[in-house]
């Protein structure tokens, strides 16, 4: 008896326990004890003995074996590992989620995967976790509210937070969603089997589902007006003639959207004999940018007859002015008729007060320029010496007289081609939407570029010119840049432009 006691005491050894995480520690135990007893000794409240696994010398220790059977000796190390079974469920959930997400697109549930990624967003999740918010969102839709008022049971359902949470969970998990849809289908087919079940289903559909689905769709029906708006957004200017082969090129939907804010654009330019053509691409002033027209692929088409350009669209004041001049109409009237006629302004201004203001500013600037230049320059280009320069430069007829550009004045086709060359040479293409209500009526060209243009940004292209301007004492870089863009990189005319500004 005593002997065996001594034996047990002698068999007690100190083992080093090495958990998979955390520091190692030692424990003393008799080798007569079973592995299970050791585990119970090591167990902590958050790590019960049942989920401990012990590894020694390349073997997983079995609960029922005594420690002596593994010939564990003093000072040896036993690895303690948390059992996988304990965390298996948790882990399974964790691994299933990302798998679902990655599977979703291949299943063709693009919308669902989008939904689930959206719902995975923590902010959205937080929002959706609050049933009150969800309820309010649903109530915000008049159609849904109507359905709820007509069907108290539906209202009750939608007011039930647990139902809302469940449906949110469902929307988040595509697998669950599919499962639910499948269950739904099965339930429906079961219901159909019941006598009278089909009628009931029909009633359900009409009273609940149809209005619910209607609440998701657009309330307005399709109208010609809406269609025209969409067409304009896609740059589809022309409508194919019915009964004729449509040979015109399809519009480029990626081209910068032209300004479509003038529903009565034709009537705004009564003096030019093009009021009657609603399909041409004239979009006002390219959001009031004097360069706007350079953006357009049709403006200033080389060789196009001035009389026909109406159909191509006078999208810029340039194209405009050129035609005005060559048409022989009102040479001395520098500006646009629209500016001199307040009544004509209203359709535009009414739509967009900001635009109206910009127009006024533009007009003011033009008047100012006209006054400054009126003494020595031909009327059509007097307001725009820098532009004149631009044309001249691109025509490679560089002369230092910035106020006249005789070759342009002489022939319109030449000027037209010059315009198009200028377009490619300078790529000054302020997009209509970038125009802001600054005091400068010329929109900031630094935000602009031709789509698909491979030219480096203007800052790079005009680096040397910018530097020389800075050396000359023009310290405002933004203004310098604007001037350079307007002059097409010519320092001399940029200086003139700057002095005039």
């Amino acid at each position: 008896m005593e002997d065996s006691d001594i034996a047990t005491v002698q068999q007690a050894i100190v083992l080093t326990i090495r958990p998979s995480s955390g520091p190692t520690f030692t424990t003393a135990i008799s080798t007569e004890n079973t592995v299970l007893q050791l585990k119970e000794k090591l167990a902590t409240p958050d790590l019960p003995a049942s989920s401990i696994r012990l590894v020694y010398s390349g073997r997983v220790l079995k609960d029922e074996d005594p420690l002596s059977s593994y010939s564990i000796k003093e000072g040896h190390t036993i690895h303690m590992v948390r059992s996988a079974t304990n965390r298996a469920n948790e882990q399974a959930v964790q691994t299933v989620r990302p798998l679902n997400n990655s599977n979703a697109p291949t299943d063709g549930f693009d919308e669902q995967s989008f939904m689930s990624t959206l719902l995975e967003n923590p902010a959205i999740r937080d929002m959706m976790a609050n049933p009150e918010v969800v309820r309010r969102m649903m109530m915000a839709n008049p159609h849904t509210r109507e359905v709820m008022e007509n069907n108290p049971e539906v209202a009750q359902m939608l007011n039930d937070p647990s139902f809302l949470r469940q449906s949110m969970d469902m929307a988040r998990n595509p697998k669950l969603m599919k499962q639910a849809l499948r269950n739904n289908d099965r339930a429906l087919s079961n219901l159909e089997m019941v006598p009278g079940g089909f009628n009931h289903l029909r009633r359900m559909y009409h009273s609940v589902q149809e209005p619910m689905e209607a609440s998701r769709s657009m309330p307005e029906p399709s109208t010609d007006d809406l269609n025209a708006q969409f067409a304009a957004r896609l740059n589809a200017d022309t409508r194919p003639q019915a009964g004729q082969l449509n040979t015109t090129a399809l519009p480029n939907p990626w081209a910068p959207p032209r300004n479509q804010s003038q529903p009565t654009r034709g009537s705004m330019f009564p003096g030019f004999g093009m009021g009657g053509s609603p399909s041409h691409g004239m979009t006002g002033f390219g959001a009031l940018s004097p360069f706007g027209g350079l953006d357009s692929p049709t403006a200033g088409t080389p060789g196009s007859q001035p009389g026909n350009t109406g159909a191509h669209g006078f999208e810029s004041p340039f194209g405009f002015m050129m035609n005005q001049r060559t048409n022989g109409s009102s040479q001395n009237q520098f500006g646009f008729p629209i500016f001199n006629n307040d009544g004509n302004l209203s359709p535009m201004g009414g739509n967009n007060p900001e635009m109206f203001q910009q127009m006024l500013q533009f007009q003011q600037m033009m008047r100012q320029m006209q006054q400054q230049q009126s003494t020595s320059s031909p009327p059509s280009y007097s307001g725009f010496p820098p532009f004149g320069n631009m044309w001249r430069n691109s025509n490679s007829n560089i002369n230092n007289n910035s106020n006249t550009s005789s070759n342009i004045n002489s022939t319109t086709p030449a000027a037209n081609s010059a315009t198009s060359t200028a377009t490619t040479a300078t790529t000054i293409t302020p997009s209509a939407t970038n125009t802001t209500a600054t005091t400068n009526t010329i929109p900031n060209p630094s935000t602009t570029s031709t789509p698909g243009s491979t030219l480096p940004p203007p800052e790079e292209r005009f680096q040397s010119q910018l530097a020389s301007l800075r050396d000359m004492g023009f310290s405002d870089n933004q203004r310098n840049m604007r001037a350079l863009l307007a002059s097409g990189g010519d320092v001399n005319s940029a200086i003139e432009f700057l002095l005039r500004m």
Partner: protein, 138 residues
């Protein structure tokens, strides 16, 4: 440098295995403590975290022949595992598909093999491989 004879090396490794020197994710020891030739060894690999192997313990058998450590030991899994380098019917590790076995050196030990296998489990190609149920054996 003098060659370390087989038994000295294995004694050294046995002590390391019993004392648990190393990163603690692999463990190994003689399968029969009375085996004076020290030929047959057990090994365990604790599955690397953030993989399908997480919290799994894989048991292996390693056999060190007479030529060890000049010749690498033969390694086979006892626990079922789906890895490219493991023969799926016998559980044997294909020496040509495991870097440390194909480029074996004298300085390598049993621990080298186990850690290399563990790294193999955690490799991007293998970490998500579907695995047989835990507890099944070859």
């Amino acid at each position: 440098m003098a060659k370390i004879p087989r038994n000295f090396k294995l004694m050294d490794e046995l002590e390391k295995g019993e004392k648990g020197i190393g990163d603690g994710t692999c463990s190994y020891g003689l399968s029969d403590g009375d085996d004076m030739t020290m030929s047959d060894w057990n090994g365990t690999i604790l599955g690397p975290g953030h993989t399908v192997h997480e919290n799994r313990i894989y048991s292996l058998k390693l056999h060190c022949g007479d030529q060890y450590p000049d010749v690498p030991p033969t390694v086979s899994f006892v626990s079922r595992i789906n890895l490219p380098c493991v023969n799926q019917s016998t559980g044997r590790v294909d020496p040509s598909k495991l870097t440390c076995l194909s480029n074996w050196r004298r300085t390598f030990g049993l621990e080298t093999i186990l850690t290399d296998l563990r790294r193999e489990m955690a490799s991007p190609n293998n970490r998500k491989l579907p695995q047989p149920a835990e507890g099944t054996t070859f």
